[in-house]
């Protein structure tokens, strides 16, 4: 039993286990960002899919608070035609 657990822990660290994927860390929390800026549309572009949709948190690891702020920023940038609504 003890052996099993240590084995699993090791797997986690290596990030090889398909069931225990390492969690992404919110990039905005690391940078200590308060409010995400719609003017930095090049950075925001990374959070869009190839079709121009906002990527889900589960893909980017963004925390809930920053995801909300990110959505607002993307929508502002879209209004100014800095980011696309759709890419087909």
């Amino acid at each position: 039993m003890a052996y099993d657990r240590s084995f699993q822990d090791q797997d986690d660290e290596l990030g090889t286990s398909p069931y225990h994927r390492q969690r992404n860390i919110c990039a905005f929390c690391v940078e200590n960002v308060k409010q995400i800026d719609y003017k930095q549309y090049d950075t925001l572009r990374r959070y869009l899919t190839e079709h121009g949709r906002i990527k889900p948190r589960r893909q980017t690891g963004t925390c809930a608070r920053h995801q909300r702020s990110l959505a607002t920023a993307v929508k502002r940038a879209r209004h100014l035609a800095l980011l696309p609504f759709v890419v087909d």
């Binding site: 209004h79 035609a81 696309p84 759709v86």
Partner: protein, 97 residues
């Protein structure tokens, strides 16, 4: 009084003189009283291509203002902007948000 960030998207096909005149007019709208201190700070982002066409335009000229405005006057300024055909888009954001 409140700090605002105002982004204005102008048509790119204006000549320099017409653009300068229009920006001067906007500056005037963003000035509270005649004093120098109440004048907005103007940043020219310049001509950029739009990610989607607006009014059949593929390029636009971006001007960014930092202004202190009376919140009650903002909607009035916005209404005035809507009548200016050379303005494709505008965005008012309170600075604390």
């Amino acid at each position: 009084m409140r700090e605002y960030e105002v982004t204005v998207l102008l048509r790119a096909d204006l000549d320099d003189e017409a653009r300068a005149q229009l920006i001067a007019r906007l500056e005037d709208w963003f000035t509270l009283d005649g004093s120098e201190a109440s004048k907005p700070v103007v940043h020219h982002w310049g001509k950029r291509s739009l990610t989607y066409p607006i009014d059949k335009q593929t390029d636009g000229y971006y001007v960014f203002f930092e202004a202190r405005l009376d919140p009650a006057k903002v909607s009035e300024i916005e209404r005035k902007m809507l009548y200016v055909e050379e303005i494709l888009r505008h965005l008012f954001i309170r600075k604390d948000e």
